[in-house]
Protein backbone atom coordinates (compact mmCIF):
# COMPACT_ATOMS: atom_id res chain seq x y z
CA UNK A 1 0.00 0.00 0.00
CA UNK A 2 1.42 3.28 -1.03
CA UNK A 3 2.24 5.72 1.69
CA UNK A 4 -0.63 8.19 1.65
CA UNK A 5 1.50 10.81 3.34
CA UNK A 6 4.09 10.58 0.58
CA UNK A 7 1.34 10.85 -2.03
CA UNK A 8 -0.03 13.98 -0.38
CA UNK A 9 3.46 15.44 0.14
CA UNK A 10 4.12 15.02 -3.58
CA UNK A 11 0.85 16.69 -4.41
CA UNK A 12 1.60 19.61 -2.10
CA UNK A 13 5.10 20.01 -3.50
CA UNK A 14 3.79 20.03 -7.06
CA UNK A 15 1.29 22.68 -6.04
CA UNK A 16 4.00 24.83 -4.45
CA UNK A 17 6.22 24.47 -7.49
CA UNK A 18 3.32 25.48 -9.72
CA UNK A 19 3.06 28.61 -7.64
CA UNK A 20 6.71 29.43 -8.18
CA UNK A 21 8.57 27.73 -5.35
CA UNK A 22 11.80 25.98 -6.20
CA UNK A 23 12.46 22.32 -5.60
CA UNK A 24 14.67 22.75 -2.53
CA UNK A 25 12.25 24.98 -0.69
CA UNK A 26 9.46 22.48 -1.37
CA UNK A 27 11.53 19.66 -0.03
CA UNK A 28 12.27 21.69 3.07
CA UNK A 29 8.60 21.36 4.01
CA UNK A 30 8.85 17.59 4.00
CA UNK A 31 12.36 16.70 5.22
CA UNK A 32 11.24 13.21 6.19
CA UNK A 33 10.28 12.45 2.57
CA UNK A 34 12.97 14.51 0.86
CA UNK A 35 14.84 11.47 -0.40
CA UNK A 36 11.76 9.97 -2.03
CA UNK A 37 10.33 13.26 -3.21
CA UNK A 38 13.42 14.63 -4.95
CA UNK A 39 13.51 12.16 -7.90
CA UNK A 40 9.74 12.45 -8.27
CA UNK A 41 9.87 16.23 -8.46
CA UNK A 42 12.79 16.09 -10.88
CA UNK A 43 10.75 13.75 -13.05
CA UNK A 44 7.86 16.22 -12.85
CA UNK A 45 10.15 19.00 -14.04
CA UNK A 46 11.31 16.74 -16.85
CA UNK A 47 7.73 16.00 -17.79
CA UNK A 48 6.94 19.71 -17.92
CA UNK A 49 10.01 20.48 -19.99
CA UNK A 50 8.81 18.64 -23.09
CA UNK A 51 5.54 20.52 -23.34
CA UNK A 52 5.09 22.52 -26.50
CA UNK A 53 2.55 25.26 -26.22
CA UNK A 54 2.51 26.41 -29.81
CA UNK A 55 0.22 24.78 -32.30
CA UNK A 56 1.27 25.58 -35.88
CA UNK A 57 -1.39 27.59 -37.67
CA UNK A 58 -1.13 25.41 -40.76
CA UNK A 59 -1.82 22.32 -38.69
CA UNK A 60 -4.95 23.92 -37.26
CA UNK A 61 -6.17 25.00 -40.67
CA UNK A 62 -5.47 21.70 -42.39
CA UNK A 63 -7.31 19.81 -39.68
CA UNK A 64 -10.26 22.13 -39.86
CA UNK A 65 -10.55 21.83 -43.62
CA UNK A 66 -10.39 18.06 -43.34
CA UNK A 67 -13.02 17.98 -40.60
CA UNK A 68 -15.44 20.25 -42.43
CA UNK A 69 -14.94 18.17 -45.57
CA UNK A 70 -15.83 15.03 -43.66
CA UNK A 71 -18.85 16.77 -42.15
CA UNK A 72 -20.01 17.82 -45.62
CA UNK A 73 -19.61 14.26 -46.90
CA UNK A 74 -21.54 12.94 -43.93
CA UNK A 75 -24.33 15.38 -44.62
CA UNK A 76 -24.49 14.21 -48.23
CA UNK A 77 -24.41 10.58 -47.17
CA UNK A 78 -27.17 11.36 -44.72
CA UNK A 79 -29.41 12.57 -47.54
CA UNK A 80 -28.77 9.59 -49.80
CA UNK A 81 -29.04 7.22 -46.84
CA UNK A 82 -32.39 8.67 -45.92
CA UNK A 83 -33.54 8.24 -49.51
CA UNK A 84 -32.11 4.82 -50.29
CA UNK A 85 -30.89 3.35 -47.03
CA UNK A 86 -34.08 1.57 -46.07
CA UNK A 87 -34.60 -0.08 -49.44
CA UNK A 88 -33.42 -3.49 -50.60
CA UNK A 89 -30.54 -3.30 -53.05
CA UNK A 90 -32.50 -4.22 -56.19
CA UNK A 91 -35.21 -1.78 -55.38
CA UNK A 92 -32.67 0.91 -54.62
CA UNK A 93 -31.03 0.31 -57.98
CA UNK A 94 -34.38 0.47 -59.73
CA UNK A 95 -35.25 3.62 -57.87
CA UNK A 96 -31.89 5.13 -58.73
CA UNK A 97 -32.45 4.35 -62.39
CA UNK A 98 -35.89 5.87 -62.25
CA UNK A 99 -34.42 8.93 -60.57
CA UNK A 100 -31.94 9.27 -63.41
CA UNK A 101 -34.74 9.17 -65.96
CA UNK A 102 -36.65 11.67 -63.87
CA UNK A 103 -33.68 14.01 -63.88
CA UNK A 104 -33.48 13.77 -67.66
CA UNK A 105 -37.19 14.51 -67.88
CA UNK A 106 -36.84 17.41 -65.50
CA UNK A 107 -34.08 18.72 -67.71
CA UNK A 108 -36.53 18.74 -70.58
CA UNK A 109 -39.26 20.58 -68.75
CA UNK A 110 -37.18 23.11 -66.92
CA UNK A 111 -36.78 21.64 -63.49
CA UNK A 112 -39.05 21.66 -60.45
CA UNK A 113 -39.28 20.21 -56.98
CA UNK A 114 -36.04 19.03 -55.52
CA UNK A 115 -33.98 20.67 -58.21
CA UNK A 116 -35.58 24.04 -57.75
CA UNK A 117 -35.38 23.60 -53.99
CA UNK A 118 -31.67 23.04 -54.37
CA UNK A 119 -31.18 26.14 -56.48
CA UNK A 120 -30.68 28.37 -53.48
CA UNK A 121 -28.54 25.88 -51.58
CA UNK A 122 -25.01 26.74 -50.58
CA UNK A 123 -21.85 24.69 -50.13
CA UNK A 124 -22.34 22.51 -47.08
CA UNK A 125 -26.11 22.32 -47.52
CA UNK A 126 -27.68 18.94 -47.99
CA UNK A 127 -29.11 19.81 -51.39
CA UNK A 128 -25.97 21.43 -52.71
CA UNK A 129 -24.72 18.30 -54.44
CA UNK A 130 -28.04 18.13 -56.31
CA UNK A 131 -27.57 21.70 -57.40
CA UNK A 132 -24.10 20.90 -58.78
CA UNK A 133 -25.29 17.74 -60.49
CA UNK A 134 -28.14 19.66 -62.03
CA UNK A 135 -25.73 22.25 -63.36
CA UNK A 136 -23.50 19.53 -64.70
CA UNK A 137 -26.44 17.97 -66.45
CA UNK A 138 -27.40 21.28 -67.99
CA UNK A 139 -23.88 21.69 -69.32
CA UNK A 140 -23.95 18.23 -70.82
CA UNK A 141 -27.31 18.86 -72.40
CA UNK A 142 -26.18 22.13 -73.94
CA UNK A 143 -25.67 21.28 -77.59
CA UNK A 144 -23.73 24.27 -78.80
CA UNK A 145 -20.43 25.50 -77.45
CA UNK A 146 -21.62 29.11 -77.03
CA UNK A 147 -24.56 27.88 -75.02
CA UNK A 148 -22.24 25.87 -72.80
CA UNK A 149 -19.98 28.85 -72.33
CA UNK A 150 -22.86 31.07 -71.31
CA UNK A 151 -24.01 28.43 -68.87
CA UNK A 152 -20.53 27.88 -67.49
CA UNK A 153 -20.16 31.59 -67.05
CA UNK A 154 -23.45 31.74 -65.21
CA UNK A 155 -22.42 28.88 -62.93
CA UNK A 156 -19.04 30.48 -62.26
CA UNK A 157 -20.81 33.64 -61.16
CA UNK A 158 -23.18 31.57 -59.05
CA UNK A 159 -20.17 30.04 -57.21
CA UNK A 160 -18.86 33.52 -56.42
CA UNK A 161 -22.28 34.61 -55.26
CA UNK A 162 -22.51 31.56 -53.01
CA UNK A 163 -19.17 32.40 -51.45
CA UNK A 164 -20.26 35.97 -50.79
CA UNK A 165 -23.43 34.66 -49.17
CA UNK A 166 -21.46 32.23 -47.01
CA UNK A 167 -19.10 34.97 -45.95
CA UNK A 168 -21.88 37.42 -45.14
CA UNK A 169 -23.62 34.76 -43.07
CA UNK A 170 -20.30 33.86 -41.45
CA UNK A 171 -20.39 30.24 -42.53
CA UNK A 172 -17.20 28.25 -42.81
CA UNK A 173 -17.45 25.88 -45.74
CA UNK A 174 -15.29 24.16 -48.27
CA UNK A 175 -15.73 25.93 -51.57
CA UNK A 176 -14.52 25.67 -55.14
CA UNK A 177 -14.77 28.45 -57.65
CA UNK A 178 -13.13 29.90 -60.70
CA UNK A 179 -12.54 33.41 -61.81
CA UNK A 180 -10.17 35.96 -63.09
CA UNK A 181 -7.31 37.20 -60.96
CA UNK A 182 -8.13 40.85 -60.41
CA UNK A 183 -5.57 41.74 -57.82
CA UNK A 184 -2.33 40.42 -56.40
CA UNK A 185 -1.43 41.42 -52.87
CA UNK A 186 1.09 39.99 -50.41
CA UNK A 187 -0.13 36.48 -49.57
CA UNK A 188 -3.45 37.23 -51.13
CA UNK A 189 -5.06 37.46 -54.54
CA UNK A 190 -8.43 38.73 -55.60
CA UNK A 191 -10.33 36.31 -57.80
CA UNK A 192 -13.62 37.53 -59.18
CA UNK A 193 -13.86 39.99 -56.34
CA UNK A 194 -13.21 37.33 -53.70
CA UNK A 195 -10.18 37.75 -51.45
CA UNK A 196 -8.21 34.53 -51.63
CA UNK A 197 -5.64 34.10 -48.88
CA UNK A 198 -2.56 32.13 -49.84
CA UNK A 199 -1.36 30.13 -46.84
CA UNK A 200 2.09 28.57 -46.56
CA UNK A 201 0.66 25.18 -47.46
CA UNK A 202 -1.51 26.34 -50.33
CA UNK A 203 -0.75 24.29 -53.41
CA UNK A 204 -0.30 26.54 -56.39
CA UNK A 205 -0.29 25.11 -59.88
CA UNK A 206 0.78 27.64 -62.50
CA UNK A 207 1.94 31.21 -62.40
CA UNK A 208 -0.26 33.68 -60.67
CA UNK A 209 -0.60 36.78 -62.78
CA UNK A 210 -3.09 39.53 -63.22
CA UNK A 211 -5.91 38.62 -65.53
CA UNK A 212 -5.23 34.90 -65.48
CA UNK A 213 -8.05 32.49 -64.86
CA UNK A 214 -7.75 30.71 -61.54
CA UNK A 215 -9.52 27.69 -60.10
CA UNK A 216 -9.59 27.97 -56.33
CA UNK A 217 -10.36 25.37 -53.70
CA UNK A 218 -10.42 26.45 -50.10
CA UNK A 219 -12.45 27.40 -47.12
CA UNK A 220 -14.45 30.48 -46.37
CA UNK A 221 -13.27 32.45 -43.39
CA UNK A 222 -15.26 34.27 -40.74
CA UNK A 223 -13.43 37.50 -41.40
CA UNK A 224 -14.21 37.31 -45.10
CA UNK A 225 -12.47 35.77 -48.05
CA UNK A 226 -11.35 32.26 -48.74
CA UNK A 227 -8.20 30.58 -47.52
CA UNK A 228 -6.96 28.55 -50.46
CA UNK A 229 -5.94 24.92 -50.30
CA UNK A 230 -5.29 24.76 -54.01
CA UNK A 231 -5.01 27.34 -56.72
CA UNK A 232 -4.72 26.23 -60.30
CA UNK A 233 -3.94 28.94 -62.77
CA UNK A 234 -5.06 28.30 -66.31
CA UNK A 235 -1.94 29.38 -68.14
CA UNK A 236 -3.45 29.09 -71.60
CA UNK A 237 -6.05 31.61 -70.66
CA UNK A 238 -3.70 33.77 -68.70
CA UNK A 239 -1.76 34.61 -71.83
CA UNK A 240 -4.87 35.96 -73.38
CA UNK A 241 -5.63 37.94 -70.30
CA UNK A 242 -2.31 39.34 -69.40
CA UNK A 243 -3.45 42.93 -69.70
CA UNK A 244 -6.48 43.12 -67.59
CA UNK A 245 -7.12 45.90 -65.12
CA UNK A 246 -4.45 46.36 -62.58
CA UNK A 247 -1.89 44.46 -64.55
CA UNK A 248 1.42 45.57 -63.19
CA UNK A 249 3.10 45.00 -66.51
CA UNK A 250 2.11 48.51 -67.52
CA UNK A 251 -0.48 47.29 -69.92
CA UNK A 252 -3.63 49.25 -70.31
CA UNK A 253 -6.38 48.45 -67.87
CA UNK A 254 -8.36 45.75 -69.51
CA UNK A 255 -6.80 46.63 -72.83
CA UNK A 256 -4.44 44.90 -75.20
CA UNK A 257 -1.16 46.10 -76.53
CA UNK A 258 0.20 45.14 -79.88
CA UNK A 259 1.89 42.05 -78.51
CA UNK A 260 -1.14 40.78 -76.75
CA UNK A 261 -4.00 40.13 -79.04
CA UNK A 262 -7.12 38.74 -77.63
CA UNK A 263 -7.92 36.27 -80.29
CA UNK A 264 -8.89 33.56 -77.88
CA UNK A 265 -10.08 31.18 -80.48
CA UNK A 266 -6.76 31.36 -82.21
CA UNK A 267 -8.46 31.54 -85.56
CA UNK A 268 -6.21 34.28 -86.77
CA UNK A 269 -9.04 36.56 -87.66
CA UNK A 270 -8.21 39.36 -85.37
CA UNK A 271 -6.10 40.33 -82.45
CA UNK A 272 -8.67 42.85 -81.41
CA UNK A 273 -10.12 42.64 -77.97
CA UNK A 274 -13.44 41.02 -77.43
CA UNK A 275 -14.00 43.16 -74.43
CA UNK A 276 -16.92 45.51 -74.76
CA UNK A 277 -16.51 48.58 -76.86
CA UNK A 278 -17.32 52.11 -75.84
CA UNK A 279 -20.74 53.18 -76.78
CA UNK A 280 -19.98 56.52 -78.35
CA UNK A 281 -23.63 57.48 -78.29
CA UNK A 282 -23.47 57.79 -74.53
CA UNK A 283 -21.44 60.91 -74.27
CA UNK A 284 -21.47 62.02 -70.67
CA UNK A 285 -23.40 65.03 -69.77
CA UNK A 286 -20.96 67.72 -68.67
CA UNK A 287 -23.44 68.91 -66.10
CA UNK A 288 -23.97 65.55 -64.56
CA UNK A 289 -22.69 64.98 -61.08
CA UNK A 290 -21.75 61.39 -60.75
CA UNK A 291 -24.39 59.26 -62.35
CA UNK A 292 -23.15 56.09 -63.94
CA UNK A 293 -23.60 55.95 -67.65
CA UNK A 294 -23.33 52.29 -68.54
CA UNK A 295 -21.45 52.17 -71.75
CA UNK A 296 -20.57 48.55 -72.01
CA UNK A 297 -22.53 45.41 -71.55
CA UNK A 298 -22.26 42.92 -74.38
CA UNK A 299 -22.43 39.33 -73.24
CA UNK A 300 -19.28 37.60 -72.21
CA UNK A 301 -18.01 35.42 -75.01
CA UNK A 302 -15.67 33.39 -72.94
CA UNK A 303 -14.80 33.20 -69.31
CA UNK A 304 -11.21 33.90 -70.24
CA UNK A 305 -12.28 37.41 -71.12
CA UNK A 306 -14.82 38.29 -68.49
CA UNK A 307 -16.82 41.42 -68.86
CA UNK A 308 -14.79 44.16 -67.30
CA UNK A 309 -16.35 47.55 -66.93
CA UNK A 310 -14.02 50.41 -66.70
CA UNK A 311 -14.85 53.86 -65.59
CA UNK A 312 -13.48 57.31 -65.65
CA UNK A 313 -14.55 60.00 -63.32
CA UNK A 314 -13.53 63.56 -62.84
CA UNK A 315 -14.70 65.60 -59.94
CA UNK A 316 -14.02 67.07 -56.58
CA UNK A 317 -12.80 64.91 -53.73
CA UNK A 318 -15.51 64.75 -51.10
CA UNK A 319 -13.46 62.61 -48.79
CA UNK A 320 -10.13 60.85 -48.91
CA UNK A 321 -9.22 58.42 -46.21
CA UNK A 322 -6.25 56.60 -47.71
CA UNK A 323 -7.99 53.41 -48.77
CA UNK A 324 -11.09 54.99 -50.26
CA UNK A 325 -11.61 58.18 -52.14
CA UNK A 326 -15.06 59.65 -52.55
CA UNK A 327 -15.72 61.64 -55.66
CA UNK A 328 -19.12 62.79 -56.89
CA UNK A 329 -20.81 60.64 -54.32
CA UNK A 330 -19.00 57.48 -55.35
CA UNK A 331 -16.65 55.54 -53.13
CA UNK A 332 -13.66 54.35 -55.09
CA UNK A 333 -11.20 51.87 -53.65
CA UNK A 334 -7.50 52.55 -53.76
CA UNK A 335 -5.49 49.34 -54.09
CA UNK A 336 -1.74 48.75 -54.11
CA UNK A 337 -1.78 48.82 -57.90
CA UNK A 338 -3.38 52.25 -57.97
CA UNK A 339 -1.05 54.78 -59.51
CA UNK A 340 -1.18 57.89 -57.44
CA UNK A 341 1.27 60.61 -58.40
CA UNK A 342 0.18 63.08 -55.81
CA UNK A 343 -1.87 62.63 -52.70
CA UNK A 344 -5.31 64.17 -53.14
CA UNK A 345 -6.91 66.28 -50.47
CA UNK A 346 -10.51 66.97 -49.71
CA UNK A 347 -11.75 69.50 -52.21
CA UNK A 348 -9.05 68.87 -54.79
CA UNK A 349 -10.07 68.01 -58.30
CA UNK A 350 -9.13 64.59 -59.56
CA UNK A 351 -9.43 62.47 -62.65
CA UNK A 352 -9.71 58.79 -61.86
CA UNK A 353 -9.59 55.78 -64.12
CA UNK A 354 -10.38 52.32 -62.93
CA UNK A 355 -12.64 49.36 -63.20
CA UNK A 356 -15.73 47.94 -61.58
CA UNK A 357 -15.18 44.57 -59.99
CA UNK A 358 -17.73 41.81 -59.89
CA UNK A 359 -19.09 43.06 -56.61
CA UNK A 360 -19.89 46.35 -58.29
CA UNK A 361 -17.14 48.12 -56.39
CA UNK A 362 -15.16 50.85 -58.06
CA UNK A 363 -11.42 50.27 -58.00
CA UNK A 364 -9.04 53.02 -59.01
CA UNK A 365 -6.09 52.27 -61.25
CA UNK A 366 -4.89 55.78 -61.81
CA UNK A 367 -5.62 59.00 -59.96
CA UNK A 368 -4.55 62.32 -61.39
CA UNK A 369 -4.82 65.27 -59.07
CA UNK A 370 -5.64 68.21 -61.26
CA UNK A 371 -4.80 71.86 -60.78
CA UNK A 372 -7.57 73.81 -59.19
CA UNK A 373 -8.08 75.96 -62.31
CA UNK A 374 -10.18 74.61 -65.13
CA UNK A 375 -7.29 73.67 -67.31
CA UNK A 376 -8.13 71.50 -70.24
CA UNK A 377 -4.87 69.69 -70.57
CA UNK A 378 -5.86 66.26 -69.45
CA UNK A 379 -6.91 65.27 -72.92
CA UNK A 380 -9.73 62.78 -72.99
CA UNK A 381 -8.65 59.82 -74.98
CA UNK A 382 -11.99 59.34 -76.47
CA UNK A 383 -12.68 62.96 -77.02
CA UNK A 384 -15.71 62.87 -74.85
CA UNK A 385 -14.42 63.96 -71.51
CA UNK A 386 -15.09 67.47 -70.47
CA UNK A 387 -12.84 68.55 -67.64
CA UNK A 388 -15.13 71.36 -66.68
CA UNK A 389 -17.92 69.34 -65.27
CA UNK A 390 -18.14 69.00 -61.55
CA UNK A 391 -18.33 65.25 -61.24
CA UNK A 392 -18.85 62.87 -64.04
CA UNK A 393 -18.51 59.18 -64.29
CA UNK A 394 -18.90 56.62 -66.99
CA UNK A 395 -17.98 53.08 -67.64
CA UNK A 396 -16.12 52.22 -70.76
CA UNK A 397 -14.02 49.60 -72.37
CA UNK A 398 -10.33 49.93 -73.10
CA UNK A 399 -9.06 50.35 -76.56
CA UNK A 400 -6.07 48.54 -77.96
CA UNK A 401 -2.87 50.36 -77.26
CA UNK A 402 -4.19 52.39 -74.41
CA UNK A 403 -1.81 53.03 -71.57
CA UNK A 404 -2.92 53.38 -68.04
CA UNK A 405 -3.10 56.73 -66.49
CA UNK A 406 -3.31 58.62 -69.73
Amino acid sequence: MMNDQLVNALDQCLLRMDQGSDLESCLAYYPEYATELRPLLLAALDAESITEKDVPVEVVRRGKTKLLNVAAEMREQGVSKRIFGFLPLRRAIRLGFAALIAVVLIAGIGGTGLVSASSSSLPGDQLYSIKLKWEDLQLKLALAQPEREVLQDKFDQERVQEINTLISSKRLEIVKFSGQIEGILPNQIIVSGVNVVIAPDTKIDGNIQMGAWAHVEGQTQLDGGVTADKIKVDSSKSEDNSNTPGDNTNSPPGGRDSNHGNNKSGDGKSGKTELPEIDQTKTPNPESSGTIVPMVSPPRKDKATPEIKQFEIEGTVDNYSGGIIEVAGKSIYIVPETQLQESPTNGSRVFIRGYVNQNGEFVALNIDVKPSSNSNDSGGQNGDRNPNHSGEERTRTPEPGEKPGH
Binding site: V7, S49, I50, E52, V59, V60, G63, K64, L67
Partner: protein, 179 residues
Protein backbone atom coordinates in the same frame (compact mmCIF):
# COMPACT_ATOMS: atom_id res chain seq x y z
CA UNK B 1 -20.45 27.40 -20.74
CA UNK B 2 -23.70 26.20 -19.23
CA UNK B 3 -24.95 22.65 -19.48
CA UNK B 4 -27.72 23.92 -21.74
CA UNK B 5 -25.18 25.53 -24.05
CA UNK B 6 -23.21 22.28 -24.07
CA UNK B 7 -26.31 20.40 -25.05
CA UNK B 8 -27.14 22.85 -27.81
CA UNK B 9 -23.62 22.57 -29.09
CA UNK B 10 -23.73 18.79 -29.05
CA UNK B 11 -27.06 18.89 -30.89
CA UNK B 12 -25.36 21.07 -33.47
CA UNK B 13 -22.58 18.51 -33.91
CA UNK B 14 -25.16 15.74 -34.19
CA UNK B 15 -26.85 17.71 -36.97
CA UNK B 16 -23.44 18.27 -38.57
CA UNK B 17 -23.88 22.01 -38.34
CA UNK B 18 -20.64 23.36 -39.80
CA UNK B 19 -20.68 26.47 -37.64
CA UNK B 20 -20.93 24.47 -34.43
CA UNK B 21 -18.36 21.96 -35.60
CA UNK B 22 -16.06 24.80 -36.47
CA UNK B 23 -16.53 26.41 -33.04
CA UNK B 24 -15.80 23.17 -31.23
CA UNK B 25 -12.76 22.56 -33.37
CA UNK B 26 -11.39 26.05 -32.73
CA UNK B 27 -11.86 25.63 -29.00
CA UNK B 28 -10.51 22.14 -28.53
CA UNK B 29 -8.12 21.36 -31.36
CA UNK B 30 -5.13 23.07 -29.70
CA UNK B 31 -5.82 21.10 -26.50
CA UNK B 32 -6.06 17.79 -28.35
CA UNK B 33 -3.09 18.49 -30.58
CA UNK B 34 -0.89 19.43 -27.64
CA UNK B 35 -1.93 16.26 -25.84
CA UNK B 36 -1.16 14.03 -28.82
CA UNK B 37 2.02 15.93 -29.60
CA UNK B 38 3.13 15.43 -26.01
CA UNK B 39 2.81 11.72 -26.39
CA UNK B 40 4.18 11.44 -29.91
CA UNK B 41 7.41 12.86 -31.16
CA UNK B 42 6.29 12.66 -34.79
CA UNK B 43 4.53 15.95 -35.46
CA UNK B 44 2.90 14.72 -38.68
CA UNK B 45 1.50 11.70 -36.92
CA UNK B 46 0.32 13.93 -34.10
CA UNK B 47 -1.48 16.12 -36.60
CA UNK B 48 -3.18 13.15 -38.24
CA UNK B 49 -4.25 11.67 -34.92
CA UNK B 50 -5.53 14.97 -33.55
CA UNK B 51 -7.61 15.45 -36.71
CA UNK B 52 -8.84 11.89 -36.50
CA UNK B 53 -10.10 12.48 -32.97
CA UNK B 54 -12.49 15.16 -34.23
CA UNK B 55 -13.68 12.98 -37.09
CA UNK B 56 -14.37 10.27 -34.52
CA UNK B 57 -16.43 12.81 -32.61
CA UNK B 58 -18.63 13.40 -35.66
CA UNK B 59 -18.97 9.67 -36.30
CA UNK B 60 -19.77 8.94 -32.68
CA UNK B 61 -22.40 11.67 -32.54
CA UNK B 62 -23.94 10.44 -35.77
CA UNK B 63 -24.18 6.95 -34.32
CA UNK B 64 -25.88 8.20 -31.20
CA UNK B 65 -22.75 7.90 -29.07
CA UNK B 66 -20.16 10.47 -28.20
CA UNK B 67 -20.02 12.81 -25.24
CA UNK B 68 -23.12 13.59 -23.27
CA UNK B 69 -21.72 16.71 -21.66
CA UNK B 70 -17.97 17.07 -21.25
CA UNK B 71 -16.65 17.37 -24.81
CA UNK B 72 -13.10 18.10 -23.75
CA UNK B 73 -12.92 14.99 -21.57
CA UNK B 74 -14.31 12.88 -24.38
CA UNK B 75 -11.84 14.29 -26.88
CA UNK B 76 -8.83 13.79 -24.63
CA UNK B 77 -9.98 10.30 -23.66
CA UNK B 78 -10.38 9.41 -27.33
CA UNK B 79 -7.02 10.97 -28.14
CA UNK B 80 -5.46 8.72 -25.51
CA UNK B 81 -7.07 5.62 -27.04
CA UNK B 82 -5.98 6.55 -30.53
CA UNK B 83 -2.40 7.17 -29.41
CA UNK B 84 -2.38 3.84 -27.58
CA UNK B 85 -3.71 2.14 -30.71
CA UNK B 86 -1.03 3.80 -32.73
CA UNK B 87 1.70 2.47 -30.46
CA UNK B 88 0.12 -0.96 -30.46
CA UNK B 89 -0.03 -1.07 -34.24
CA UNK B 90 3.40 0.29 -34.89
CA UNK B 91 4.80 -1.81 -32.04
CA UNK B 92 8.01 0.05 -31.97
CA UNK B 93 9.76 2.62 -29.95
CA UNK B 94 9.07 5.92 -31.58
CA UNK B 95 11.96 7.31 -33.51
CA UNK B 96 12.82 10.77 -32.40
CA UNK B 97 12.65 13.45 -34.98
CA UNK B 98 15.04 15.95 -33.52
CA UNK B 99 14.32 18.50 -36.24
CA UNK B 100 10.77 18.71 -35.04
CA UNK B 101 11.76 20.17 -31.72
CA UNK B 102 11.69 23.85 -31.22
CA UNK B 103 14.80 24.61 -29.22
CA UNK B 104 14.92 27.46 -26.79
CA UNK B 105 15.85 30.50 -28.83
CA UNK B 106 17.81 31.89 -25.90
CA UNK B 107 20.00 28.87 -25.56
CA UNK B 108 23.52 28.72 -26.94
CA UNK B 109 24.20 26.00 -29.54
CA UNK B 110 25.72 23.66 -26.97
CA UNK B 111 22.96 24.35 -24.47
CA UNK B 112 20.42 23.83 -27.19
CA UNK B 113 21.99 20.55 -28.18
CA UNK B 114 22.08 19.37 -24.58
CA UNK B 115 18.52 20.47 -24.08
CA UNK B 116 17.34 18.61 -27.14
CA UNK B 117 19.23 15.53 -26.08
CA UNK B 118 17.62 15.73 -22.66
CA UNK B 119 14.16 16.15 -24.22
CA UNK B 120 14.79 13.20 -26.49
CA UNK B 121 15.68 11.05 -23.51
CA UNK B 122 12.59 12.15 -21.62
CA UNK B 123 10.36 11.35 -24.59
CA UNK B 124 11.99 7.97 -25.02
CA UNK B 125 11.48 7.30 -21.34
CA UNK B 126 7.89 8.46 -21.44
CA UNK B 127 6.80 6.01 -24.11
CA UNK B 128 8.15 3.16 -22.02
CA UNK B 129 5.59 3.83 -19.31
CA UNK B 130 2.23 2.11 -19.29
CA UNK B 131 -0.46 3.85 -21.36
CA UNK B 132 -2.24 4.92 -18.18
CA UNK B 133 0.94 6.39 -16.71
CA UNK B 134 1.62 8.24 -19.97
CA UNK B 135 -1.95 9.50 -19.95
CA UNK B 136 -1.76 10.89 -16.42
CA UNK B 137 1.57 12.58 -17.06
CA UNK B 138 0.37 14.05 -20.35
CA UNK B 139 -2.73 15.44 -18.64
CA UNK B 140 -1.05 16.72 -15.49
CA UNK B 141 2.22 18.03 -16.91
CA UNK B 142 1.56 18.33 -20.63
CA UNK B 143 -1.89 19.88 -20.33
CA UNK B 144 -1.31 21.27 -16.82
CA UNK B 145 -4.71 20.08 -15.73
CA UNK B 146 -5.71 19.98 -12.07
CA UNK B 147 -6.12 16.72 -10.24
CA UNK B 148 -9.88 17.15 -10.41
CA UNK B 149 -9.91 17.71 -14.16
CA UNK B 150 -7.54 14.81 -14.68
CA UNK B 151 -9.73 12.62 -12.52
CA UNK B 152 -12.80 13.57 -14.59
CA UNK B 153 -11.08 12.73 -17.84
CA UNK B 154 -9.62 9.48 -16.55
CA UNK B 155 -12.89 8.57 -14.85
CA UNK B 156 -11.10 7.97 -11.58
CA UNK B 157 -11.31 9.58 -8.19
CA UNK B 158 -8.76 12.20 -7.16
CA UNK B 159 -6.92 9.90 -4.76
CA UNK B 160 -6.48 7.27 -7.43
CA UNK B 161 -5.04 9.93 -9.75
CA UNK B 162 -2.63 11.09 -7.03
CA UNK B 163 -1.33 7.57 -6.58
CA UNK B 164 -1.12 6.94 -10.29
CA UNK B 165 0.73 10.21 -10.70
CA UNK B 166 3.29 9.18 -8.09
CA UNK B 167 3.87 5.81 -9.73
CA UNK B 168 4.11 7.43 -13.17
CA UNK B 169 6.71 9.96 -12.00
CA UNK B 170 8.72 7.25 -10.28
CA UNK B 171 8.64 5.17 -13.44
CA UNK B 172 9.59 8.14 -15.57
CA UNK B 173 12.51 8.91 -13.32
CA UNK B 174 13.75 5.34 -13.57
CA UNK B 175 13.41 5.28 -17.35
CA UNK B 176 15.17 8.61 -17.81
CA UNK B 177 18.06 7.31 -15.76
CA UNK B 178 18.21 4.19 -17.91
CA UNK B 179 18.29 5.99 -21.25
Amino acid sequence: MSIQDDQQELDGVRQLNPRVISDIYDRYFPVVFRYVRYRLSDIKQAEDIASDVFIRLLEAMRNGKGPESNVKAWLLGTASHVVNDYYRKTYRQPTEDIEEYYPDQQATPSESSEQRDRQRRIREALVKLTPEQQHVIALRFGQELSLEETAAIMKKNVNAVKQLQLRALAALNRQVDKT
